[in-house]
């Protein structure tokens, strides 16, 4: 899982992707309909400076559960599978994240190891922001900070919903029967 920067190798992957690479957030075509990205112009400029852009092929693991936290990953394009793993390596898919979503936010803010694994399902364009830079950025830009809080609340709601659905059905068999979304790999 090596990072390929858009500058040198972008062309190589861009041909696999649906959309062209958006190298600057300021001129990005996707921005208006994305919750996190649609920030005030001033914040956007600052964000543009701290982000690093990468294109990754499909099935790249952006981060793995239990690994020390590095920062957040913002999916510009493509989808990512979010899963958790038991001690013995059994996997449970939580959900599939789509374009515009911010991954690894919880771990980054609390400075704990990543709590989930994120694997790309498509050739994707991903923006990475280091933890240190992000924290500084959030301190300086209140509106973005509020948006982050809102996004975390959404994540939490989703997680509780999941707990509710898998919580009480005791056998694995029944769980799958009742909840086709619970994919046990």
């Amino acid at each position: 899982m090596t990072a390929v920067t858009a500058q040198n190798r972008g062309e190589q992957y861009s041909c696999y992707m649906e959309h062209t690479i958006q190298s600057s957030c300021v001129t990005c075509d996707f921005r208006p309909n994305r919750l996190f990205c649609d920030m005030p112009a001033e914040s956007l400029k600052a964000f543009d400076e701290i982000k690093s852009l990468g294109s990754y092929p499909r099935s790249t693991i952006l981060f793995a559960e239990g690994r020390p936290v590095r920062g957040i990953y913002l999916l510009c394009d493509g989808r990512a599978k979010l899963s958790i793993c038991s001690d013995t390596g059994k996997r449970l898919t939580l959900r599939v994240a789509g374009p515009g979503e911010v991954l690894g936010l919880g771990a980054t803010l609390s400075n704990t190891p990543y709590e989930i694994t994120a694997e790309l399902l498509d050739n994707s364009q991903v923006v990475f922001v280091r933890r240190k830079d992000l924290m500084k950025f959030l301190r300086e830009h209140r509106e973005v900070c509020m948006e982050v809080v809102r996004m975390l609340s959404q994540d939490l709601h989703g997680a509780y919903e999941r707990v509710r659905s898998i919580g009480m059905i005791r056998t694995r068999h029944a769980r799958i029967m009742f909840h086709p979304r619970a994919m046990v790999v």
Partner: protein, 240 residues
């Protein structure tokens, strides 16, 4: 001086001695000052329900003293205890921020002091104080992490025995007992409540405890549990 439920009520956040240890409360002076003006200090007896799952969010509850049981109702109507909240935690946070109904039910386990803040005022407070906003984000992340842990244990564990062993090991790391060979822990919950924490029945919990005692893995003295064979408990906690 007489106080409600024998609690030593802390009226002002500015004078609170425990503030430094609590992630959320340790705010810069300016933010603390304005938090002070919007909060209501209240006391609740044991067994009081702060909010119920599905109820429209009316604000946040900062737990100052005492413990609160957070539970969730599954789709088939059973109760599952997510965690026991400790002082310093902010309850009802994500619902208040997102404007959705409360996703959990919070019930006090001990007499509690709780500081309540109304939703509109809390949101305004967050907008004005970016430092507080980051604290909130931190709290939410912690909650998200523990929700993920819960999903892992519910979705991927095999047996109730495994889950109980995990729970006991987790509890045994608290109160500075982690390094001891034979850690001691205080069981604050009934078998029924432990069953609701690991998603099984009360009968199973009682049977598992009897089995652990018979195998000399744990020893009970009243509500205190002594873990005599940590290695065996650890072996039980690993998925077969």
């Amino acid at each position: 001086m007489l106080t409600p439920y024998g609690l030593d009520i802390i009226e002002s956040c500015l004078a609170c001695k425990m503030r430094a240890e609590h992630i959320f409360c340790d705010l810069p002076p300016a933010a603390l000052q304005s938090f002070e003006t919007i909060k209501y200090a209240t006391a609740y007896p044991k067994g009081a329900v702060l909010f119920v799952e599905g109820q429209a969010a009316r604000g946040i509850f900062v737990l100052c003293k005492g413990r609160v049981k957070l539970s969730i109702c599954s789709t088939d109507g059973k109760t599952l205890i997510l965690k026991i909240a400790e002082p310093g935690e902010v309850l009802g946070l994500s619902a208040t921020v997102s404007g959705k109904p409360y996703e959990l039910t919070a019930e006090t386990v001990d007499p509690c002091q709780v500081n309540f803040v109304k939703r509109e005022e809390f949101l305004r407070f967050l907008k004005e104080h970016s430092e507080a906003c980051l604290r909130v984000a931190e709290q939410l992340s912690d909650k998200y992490n523990s929700a993920c842990r819960e999903i892992r244990s519910l979705g991927l564990s095999h047996s109730a025995g495994e889950k109980l062993a995990k729970l006991l090991l987790e509890w045994s790391t608290k109160n500075g007992e982690a390094a001891k060979i034979e850690p001691r822990l205080k069981l604050a919950l009934t078998h029924e409540e432990i069953a609701q924490m690991i998603g099984t029945s009360r009968e199973t919990v009682t049977r598992l405890f009897a089995d652990l005692k018979k195998r000399q893995i744990v020893q009970a003295k009243g509500s205190t549990l002594l873990i005599r064979n940590k290695a065996a408990l650890k072996a039980m906690a690993i998925t077969q």
